[in-house]
């Protein structure tokens, strides 16, 4: 009986741990990620659980994350802009078994931070920012990426 309780407690504890696989992040943190002068090539993908074209292109980022050790992939969820409860994001990460690092952007009033990512960004998603910290080159694209697009963008900042 005791063992059962312990097992149960352990299971609950683990699932609680498992239920928060994404940290909240502020715009300043994002700026720091792409503002350094050394390190891996940064790939930031802006997405949300409600965005169908975002979900369609996610496997491309997952594949990049799995195959390229010289690249750091971050999936930035902007779900909080519409829904204060992040549970949907946690469930999504769990269901899709996402391996890339997911962050939840915790900002209000997009008009104050969209330009800080890129001045050309209208705010529509999906959108992707690629920054080569070594040489400072960056590319921003505001569209759904297809097979091969990411590689082309990454090569263009080499």
């Amino acid at each position: 009986m005791k063992a059962l309780i312990i097992t149960f407690a352990l299971a609950v504890g683990m699932s609680a741990l498992h239920a928060q696989p994404a940290d909240k992040i502020k715009i300043e943190d994002l700026q720091k990620m792409v503002g350094g002068s050394a390190g891996k090539i940064q790939v930031l993908n802006f997405w949300a659980t409600w965005c169908a074209p975002c979900i369609k292109e996610l496997p491309l980022f997952e594949q990049l994350n799995a195959t390229r050790k010289d690249i750091e992939v971050s999936l930035i969820s902007i779900d909080l802009d519409l829904d204060p409860n992040p549970d949907k994001i946690y469930r999504f990460i769990d269901r899709k078994k996402l391996k890339s690092t997911v962050y939840i952007l915790d900002e209000r009033d997009p008009n104050t931070w969209i330009d800080k990512i890129d001045k050309s960004w209208s705010g529509a998603i999906p959108a992707t920012l690629v920054v080569n910290l070594e040489n400072g080159k960056r590319r921003f694209v505001e569209k759904e990426l297809k097979e091969g697009d990411l590689e082309e963008i990454i090569n263009s900042v080499k």
Partner: protein
């Protein structure tokens, strides 16, 4: 004269879409073109139909985007507040129903009836109007000042307000501020804003 005007509009579209950069679109201060698009009730609607209008609140919008849903009651309220003052709301759905079946004409009809729209909900089948205006998201607002019959000046482009998820927590009402300023012949305080939104579902070119 009207035929001449339409011809001019068509020529303008042709000029603006042929070989134009990917994202041309209007800037604040530009003169916006009128359109003639099919409403959910089957009738054709142009801004010129509104003889008494002093301006327009043109909103590119759709059925399916969660932001459009979040703003639906606020858009209805905008028309209730401003149509009688000479600034009617006109909504336009540019989404390709092939890519977004929930935005088909039939779905538009159901939505407009269900939510009792008392303003047009037009279909931009060719997507030419959205492209000419430079709309990117839904909802994406263009406030126009009718300087004259032939000059519909763009005075505001962007979001409805600064809080998508909670209408009660809004601190900046961009569209209302713009229209209020026009009514008082003052300059529009904020002329351009950005917001998170669903990208317009463009036909595959």
């Amino acid at each position: 004269m009207n035929a001449l005007k339409s011809l001019f509009a068509i020529a303008l579209i042709a000029v603006m879409t042929a070989g134009a950069p990917v994202k041309p679109g209007y800037e604040v201060g530009d003169s916006a073109m009128d359109f003639k698009l099919k409403n959910y009730d089957g009738k054709m609607v142009s801004m010129a139909d509104y003889k008494e209008a002093k301006g327009y609140i043109v909103i590119f919008n759709c059925n399916t985007c969660p932001y459009s849903k979040a703003y639906d009651s606020r858009i209805i309220a905008l028309n209730k507040k401003y149509a009688s003052k000479g600034f009617p709301v006109i909504t336009i759905n540019p989404n390709d129903p092939g890519l977004s079946p929930g935005d088909s004409f039939d779905e538009m009809k159901s939505q407009a009836k269900r939510n009792k729209y008392d303003f047009p909900y037009l279909v931009d089948e060719t997507q030419d109007v959205a492209r000419t205006y430079g709309a990117t998201n839904t909802p994406h607002v263009y406030v126009l000042d009718k300087v004259s019959e032939s000059n519909l000046k763009v005075v505001y482009i962007g979001a409805i307000d600064d809080n998508s998820r909670n209408a009660d927590a809004v601190t900046k009402r961009y569209v209302e501020d713009a229209v209020d300023a026009l009514m008082q012949s003052k300059s529009v305080p904020t002329t351009k804003t950005k917001a998170i939104g669903c990208t317009i579902k463009w036909k595959n070119s």
